[in-house]
Symmetry: C2
Subunit: 306 residues, 2 copies
């Protein structure tokens, strides 16, 4: 067994849960993954899941171990609600807004960081987890101010001035892709095949259509179906087109946020590349920051806050 | 038993099937409904379904009975493919494009009308069923030329000059509503409740948002979730907002089609009213034409073509 970690950083999302044991020097001494995301759990299940995930990493007795958690575990339907910070918000106040759910008979001492909300009328919005990545961005890209694009199931666009979140917006792009490819008539054109030699060409065509005329999305979606029925478009081309169209429409929707400054794209490498390409088509400059690294850096920074 | 019908008009869609027996004077002498739509059937099942639906309406022997069919029965994955007419297309050519699937050992003599396609690059599109309603519109609204809006699962917008279809476009609005309310995170905000005292207010708010900024659709969708989490929006309000947002975005997407002339809204009364309201907000004038009447009038007119 390795040296015990000093504390544990946890990203507890809707679908998954990831934990990193952090050693005395700030290095990761272990990492754990689980599919026990918020959507599968009732509040009383969290202590058991967390305890089980870390059972082999700590001796049964000893001093309490801090576990700092971000993400959906703090939602109303999660473990324990961590009330939102409101925009404009200071990321330096994250740790002060944490809540501490009970975890009796264990060495683990969990705290859950708050999410962030925006109550501006007509721009009401919420996030949970990305606020921690934004804090981490300050470590990974010191001095960054500007627009952050965080692609995913629910993409976030954020205007950040140092550690101050000025405003943000959520686009349901990833989820639109999933529900359309799984449940709509377009599934017949994709045929369950997501990769292939024509995927890139389809993606580029969809991207151009979405960025060029984002207001046409409800009509452009059906071009996937028409493309396979009339033009012999292959399933991989159609999958690429749908992905490009949705990402392009999102970027087109947010075009008024894209200025001269470099845009921080925080996400996994694959999706980050697609967004960087789209931002380039829209005239923006993008730099990709790994999403998991941003989360971990954010949890470390939040722990420094106390 | 009533007098035998002269012939049978059939609208065979994806989900349902509707048949009308037409008497010598053009009057409807019976009507039948079934849930045996195209999506449930393999090609060899159609004769049995049609025969079963009309079994009680005709004596087992006698002269052959014409059955004129429009809709998805003519799709590649339907009973027998009826090749598309191509835009610009003359609705007077519908009957000439019909195909006659075999139906041995029966008095019924079926023909399936063609759909319509548009091969214009970047505006590829298809319809099956609506072309027949467009032909019927010529009977129900003699002399009509202009824009036709046909709300539904896959809404159609058509530019019609008399009997000539100049161009058309499909918006996936109805299907987007279904997949989002059933499968996306927004289902938590709708809670399965589609009606209620706040539905109209939500619909108006969504309509204004969609028409005012159709390019914002990917971002505006999440306002449903944020509205319930932050502003205490009720499920019926959220359902209305989602419906209004999607219809408004569709109308906003098609705004360049809306001119001075009256727009023919062909659909059922409930959906037609919602679209007429939206078209009014966008500065258009709408007149509602019942969709089933248009189908029946179109099948009658197609039979006159031979």
């Amino acid at each position: 067994m390795t040296t015990e970690a000093d504390w544990v950083a946890v990203d507890w999302g809707t679908s998954n849960l990831r934990a990193w044991g952090i050693g005395p020097g700030g290095d990761v001494v272990f990492s754990r993954m689980s599919d026990q995301g918020m959507s599968r759990l009732t509040p009383d299940a969290y202590p058991r899941v967390l305890g089980g995930l870390l059972a082999g990493d700590f001796a049964p007795t000893g001093p309490r171990i801090d576990v700092l958690i971000c993400g959906m575990a703090g939602a109303r339907q999660g473990w324990m609600e961590a009330p939102y910070l409101e925009t404009p918000a200071d990321l330096g106040a994250l740790a002060a807004g944490a809540v501490a759910p009970a975890m009796p008979e264990a060495r683990l001492s969990p705290r859950i960081l708050p999410g962030m909300c925006q109550r501006l009328v007509g721009a009401e919005d919420v996030m949970r987890g990305e606020e921690t990545q934004l804090l981490g961005l300050g470590t990974l890209w010191p001095g960054f101010s500007g627009v952050v694009c965080m692609p995913g199931t629910h993409s976030k666009w954020v205007q950040l001035a140092g550690r101050r979140v000025q405003r943000f917006a959520t686009a349901m792009t990833g989820e639109l892709f999933e529900v359309l490819r799984t449940h709509s008539v377009l599934r017949h054109s994709l045929g369950g095949q997501m990769q292939g030699p024509n995927r890139d060409e389809g993606f580029s065509a969809g991207l151009a259509a979405g960025i060029g005329a984002p207001q046409k999305l409800p009509v452009a979606l059906f071009k996937v179906r028409a493309g396979s029925l009339l033009s012999g478009r292959t399933p991989d081309w159609c999958a690429g087109f749908l992905s490009g169209l949705l990402i392009g429409s999102e970027i087109g929707a947010q075009r008024d946020w894209i200025g001269e400054g470099e845009i921080a794209v925080v996400g996994d490498a694959g999706l980050g590349d697609l967004y960087a390409k789209g931002l380039g088509v829209a005239g923006g400059k993008a730099r990709i920051v790994d999403g998991a690294e941003a989360t971990l850096a954010g949890l470390k920074a939040a722990r420094q806050q106390g």
